[in-house]
């Protein structure tokens, strides 16, 4: 073997190494092109996500806790047992102890089986309850979604139409997005071993239908619409005009898009 270790040889090797690295983006572009040709999208052909902006709003005072939305979601999206794309929480706030100087007592929250099948009467005596209400929960479709930010391969992304989606054919199942979601909206699907979450029923809304939970809600606690194409007497526009709305955990800077009206400070 010759084995002369010279500056020229070292530089040659280094140049080869750098050349290899520089060739990587070209390889990636080719791979993306091939992938695009075979991509399977839940949206129909011809659907242009840049022309829509979907939004879900929730009227807490209207929710009766029947749990039909949870059931409809499970059926529509084949959500596994013990996992939920949407669920309902029941808040029970007790009266303060006499003379305690507090404005309210303790807060109890429950969501047995995600609220599917409704709620049994609370075990707390009726006279002790100051107030009680139901809060439907789902993915907040954040503008600054921490789940998309941390995904190491970009399998989770914010679609231009305002929905955060997961490409299950690309997700590596690391669970980082599930840890990063402050709302507990994501789960690792035990069948596909990938991250799963509410898509606002993307396969339905891109075909002009409403999400399953909105469709079935008997009290119109869930309001859905397209901000870019308001219909006549649009329920979403009317809801936003008539209510003071807010997103959940706004202090985290995630800019949740899902709007709530009538939230109590105890709701997190």
């Amino acid at each position: 073997m010759t084995g002369s270790f010279t500056r020229r040889n070292a530089l040659k090797n280094l140049a080869g190494f750098l050349g290899g690295i520089l060739a990587l983006p070209a390889g990636r572009a080719c791979k993306a092109a091939v992938k695009n040709a075979f991509v399977i999208s839940p949206a129909p052909a011809g659907y242009d996500p840049s022309k829509h902006k979907w939004l879900m709003a929730l009227d807490v005072d209207r929710c009766i806790g029947c749990g039909l939305c949870v059931e409809a979601c499970k059926a529509e999206n084949s959500v596994p047992d013990n996992n939920f794309r949407t669920w309902i929480e029941r808040y029970v706030i007790t009266r303060p102890k006499a003379g305690s100087g507090e404005s309210r007592g303790d807060t109890f929250v429950d969501s047995p089986n995600g609220g599917m099948g409704g709620f049994k009467p609370s075990l707390i005596p009726r006279d002790d309850i100051l107030k009680s209400f139901f809060v439907p929960k789902l993915c907040n479709q954040c503008e600054n979604s921490p789940c998309s930010q941390v995904c190491p391969v970009g399998a989770t992304f914010e679609s231009p139409d305002g929905v955060v989606l997961v490409d299950k054919n690309y997700c590596i199942g690391c669970g980082f997005c599930i840890q990063a979601c402050p709302y507990g909206c994501r789960f690792l699907n035990p069948a596909s071993h990938t991250a799963d979450k509410c898509t606002l029923c993307y396969h339905r809304v891109t075909r002009g239908l409403r999400p399953a939970c909105v469709e079935i809600c008997p009290s119109q606690a869930r309001i859905f619409g397209d901000l870019n194409h308001p219909v006549q007497d649009d329920p979403l526009q009317r809801f936003i005009e008539n209510n003071k709305t807010q997103g959940l955990k706004a202090h985290l800077g995630t800019k949740p898009r899902v709007r709530y009206a009538g939230l109590d400070e105890e709701v997190r």
Binding site: M1, S4, R28, I172, F176
Partner: protein, 419 residues
């Protein structure tokens, strides 16, 4: 109004206290004990490398006996650093996507690059430049498999002229200097994986990468002390006490710094008393009492600090044997304490609901793919690899040129004396 943690009378599951979001009610936390092992192993790599760098960069001559041992330790652990992650992934067969289509805003996506950089550009290069001369010598004197192995490792560069050796030494030092920030980057990044999660009040903290780096340095140094003493014992040779005392001094200051910053972190959390502080306080007092307060703070930090600290003051009155015993036990305690720290961060962060209204439990599986057995195997694997590396690269029967093998007779430094 009571915003504390309340026991929910309506909904009581055995593994759940209070309220947790329905998707959080799982039997196992999403990131199991494998993710505890992962930052632990990565930290040991970074720490062992820093120990080796003290010799090259700061020219601490007294530590030369452990220079190669520290580098080989770092390599053995580095080779295993990605395994826990791979075992944990839902789709390990797609792991290459992290390198091919990385999402640059993700701290996890950078791991492939930081890891590759550290392994290929720092650790292997530094080892090669340090060993090149020995490889050439050994390939001439050894026969059979060993001879072929050493000849292959020369990579065909058999030039042992004085300028070539000087170049080896110079490049080795440059790589070492680059290696220190790289080691900080490697482990700081691991800390950032947790520190960047603002959804979790236990993790989302600006000090998290710093704490991870400092505890990594402490654990890596403790591992070097442990490995050196163990190797000396296995070879029935006397340890170099000057080297050992100095290592223990560095270890003492590393643990002291780590403990101070972790203490500052808790002080800051308690003083600022932000939203999640009630949960964290309950966590420390109940679910993490044994691993955090007893394991990490008392046995893993305070006791070794007292042992090492008192030896700093009364070293000359303590016999060599007793000093070795104290160094061995304190380094073992530090190693276990840092493992407890990783547990407290990774598992502790998943023992409470992000609704801040309840706690979950973690009962570790025994044999499952994220259970005791696999974690122990993954922790034992680097030690096995290190044994093989020592057999081939730190063997007593090899004619060494440097005074780097415990028990070997000292030789003049080749970098100073022409061959």
């Amino acid at each position: 109004m009571n915003t504390g943690i309340l026991t929910n009378a309506v909904e009581m599951l055995p593994q759940l206290q209070g309220y947790a979001y329905p998707n959080e009610r799982t039997l196992q936390p999403l990131w199991s004990v494998l993710i505890v092992v992962y930052p632990y192993i990565t930290g040991l790599v970074a720490g062992a490398f820093i120990m080796a760098s003290l010799v090259r960069v700061l020219n601490v001559k007294a530590l030369e006996p452990i220079y190669r041992l520290a580098l080989l330790t770092a390599l053995a652990f580095m080779l295993c650093a990605t395994l826990p992650l791979l075992f944990h992934l839902g789709h390990p067969e797609r792991c290459y996507e992290i390198l091919l289509t990385p999402h640059f805003t993700s701290p996890m996506a950078m791991f492939g690059f930081v890891y590759a950089w550290y392994l290929m550009a720092v650790l292997l290069l530094e080892l090669w430049f340090d060993y090149r001369r020995d490889f050439v010598e050994w390939s001439r004197t050894q026969s059979g498999f060993r001879g072929i192995l050493y000849r292959a490792f020369t990579l065909g560069v058999t030039d042992l002229s004085e300028p070539a050796l000087r170049l080896d030494a110079r490049l080795g030092r440059i790589i070492s200097i680059v290696g220190i920030p790289s080691a900080f980057l490697l482990h700081g990044y691991v800390g950032f994986i947790f520190g960047s999660i603002k959804a979790n009040p236990w993790w989302g903290n600006v000090l998290m990468p710093i704490i991870f780096i400092l505890s990594a340095v402490a654990s890596g140094m403790a591992l070097c002390v442990f490995a050196y003493l163990f190797l000396c014992w296995a070879r029935r040779v006397t340890a170099d006490m000057r080297c050992l005392d100095l290592m223990a001094s560095f270890l003492f200051y590393a643990v002291l710094l780590d403990a101070s910053i972790e203490g500052l972190d808790w002080l800051h959390r308690l003083y600022s008393a932000e939203e999640g502080i009630d949960v964290l306080r309950s966590l420390a007092a109940s679910k993490l009492f044994y691993t955090l307060l007893i394991g990490q703070a008392l046995m893993g930090t305070l006791v070794p600090l007292l042992m090492l600290g008192s030896l700093q003051l009364v070293r000359k009155w303590v016999s060599d044997l007793n000093r070795r015993r104290l160094y061995f036990s304190s380094s073992t305690l530090i190693l276990l304490g840092v493992l407890a720290m990783r547990w407290n961060v990774v598992i502790g962060g998943q023992l409470f609901s992000k609704s801040l209204r309840g706690f979950m439990s973690y009962k570790m599986e025994f044999a499952g793919h994220e259970g005791w057995w696999l974690s122990l195997a993954l922790l034992a694997l680097p030690f096995f690899i290190l044994t093989v590396l020592i057999k081939y690269f730190l063997a007593l029967d090899l004619p060494t040129i440097e005074n780097v093998v415990p028990g070997a007779s000292p030789h003049p430094d080749p970098r100073e004396a022409p061959h």
